[in-house]
């Protein structure tokens, strides 16, 4: 089970869906949701500046296009990985399935890409099985369709 998850997504309804799905699948006990990339960046900036890495979530799910944010999900992943010390399992959760965007996400340090749809549970279950590989950095980049 994942210790803590941070979901960055502008869609509040999806927060509920994701929370319930994670609870039902016993994916995580602790889940926090924010609806803007700027808020998420501020959180990571604070943890990095205060030198409190234990407060960081274990895994971060980032939406690709976060409405109301000054940058997109791929840029958030890049900043978390290259500016705020990394040490989290991080990937994209989006309804988009563009190979170009997936390549960009991989270059920014994303470890997975989950296609967001009505039936999210099977993908999350598959992700849970692969999670240990992401945690110890042995699993390759994977797209959950």
């Amino acid at each position: 089970m994942i210790d803590s998850i941070l979901l960055v997504d502008d869609e509040n309804l999806f927060h509920l869906v994701f929370e319930d799905a994670c609870s039902l699948l016993d994916i995580s006990l602790s889940l926090k949701s924010v609806n803007s990339a700027d808020n998420a960046e501020n959180m990571f900036k604070k943890w990095f500046n205060d030198n409190t890495p234990n407060e960081k979530p274990e895994c971060v799910f980032v939406d690709l296009n976060i409405i109301g944010s000054s940058f997109d999900g791929i840029e958030l992943i890049r900043r978390i990985n290259f500016q705020y010390g990394n040490h989290v399992v991080i990937g994209i959760i989006s309804s988009s399935n563009e190979p170009e965007e997936q390549t960009k996400a991989l270059q920014a340090g994303a470890q997975f890409w989950i296609i967001k749809s009505d039936d999210i549970e099977p993908r999350l279950e598959e992700f849970r099985k692969d999670y240990e590989g992401y945690k110890n950095r042995t699993a390759p980049f994977k797209v959950y369709k």
Partner: protein, 228 residues
């Protein structure tokens, strides 16, 4: 894991049995039953209830999300339709302005054409007037010419008549004088007498013939004029 004392466990179980209120959410996963079978059963029931509740909420949330997505799509389609409509309206407005401009030009052309038509009618009227005047002038000229011809003819006839009369008078006087001299000088007058008589007769005949000819020409000319 959290471990609870017996009193708390009993209180929780009583609350669940009497009022149906139990632990919810991930906290259930964090509580240890510590070998207590009743509490284990309680935790299982709470978990089951929580799963059912979450499933129900997940279904409802998904339905709402689906509806929301449909509404978003419909909104996008509406926006596209509105954009198309606005573009169509813009194009129609541009066409209207263009047509109005063309109409304005056509009205100007029409006005110019009407003006040209009026000018043409004026010019035609003037041309017609000029034609009538020319015909009138032509008629006058013809009349003048005719008059001139008649005058010339009359003058010619008058000259002829005068000359002829003078010739007749001259010949008459000369013959009469010669006949008179022959009578006075008692010369033979047989030849001169018959000559005078013949000559006088011929002269008178010619004189009447000339007069008659002149009168005939004059009559014929007057008839032709009245016929024209």
């Amino acid at each position: 894991m959290i471990k609870l004392d017996k009193t708390t466990k009993k209180a929780l179980i009583d609350l669940f049995q009497k009022k149906g209120i139990g632990l919810e959410g991930n906290i259930i996963k964090m509580v240890d039953h510590d070998g207590d079978e009743d509490f284990q059963k309680y935790l299982t029931e709470c978990k089951q209830k929580d799963i059912e509740l979450r499933k129900k909420r997940l279904d409802v949330t998904k339905q709402v999300q689906e509806k929301n997505n449909e509404l978003l799509k419909l909104n996008e389609e509406n926006q596209k339709i509105m954009e198309n409509l606005q573009n169509s309206l813009k194009e129609t407005e541009e066409q209207r302005i263009k047509i109005e401009a063309q109409n304005g030009e056509l009205i100007l052309w029409k006005d110019e054409n009407e003006k040209i038509q009026v000018d043409l009618q004026d010019a035609m009227a003037k041309a017609e007037q000029a034609r009538i005047e020319a015909e009138s002038a032509k008629e006058n000229a013809e009349n003048d010419l005719d008059l001139l011809q008649k005058r010339t003819q009359s003058e010619l006839i008058s000259t002829i008549v005068k000359v002829a009369l003078w010739v007749i008078i001259g010949v008459g006087i000369t013959t009469t004088a010669m006949y008179g001299i022959a009578l006075i000088s008692k010369q033979d007058t047989q030849i001169i007498g018959s000559t005078w008589s013949n000559m006088f007769g011929i002269l008178l005949t010619n004189a009447f013939s000339i007069v008659g000819t002149i009168m005939g020409i004059k009559y014929a000319t007057e008839n032709k004029e009245s016929q024209n």
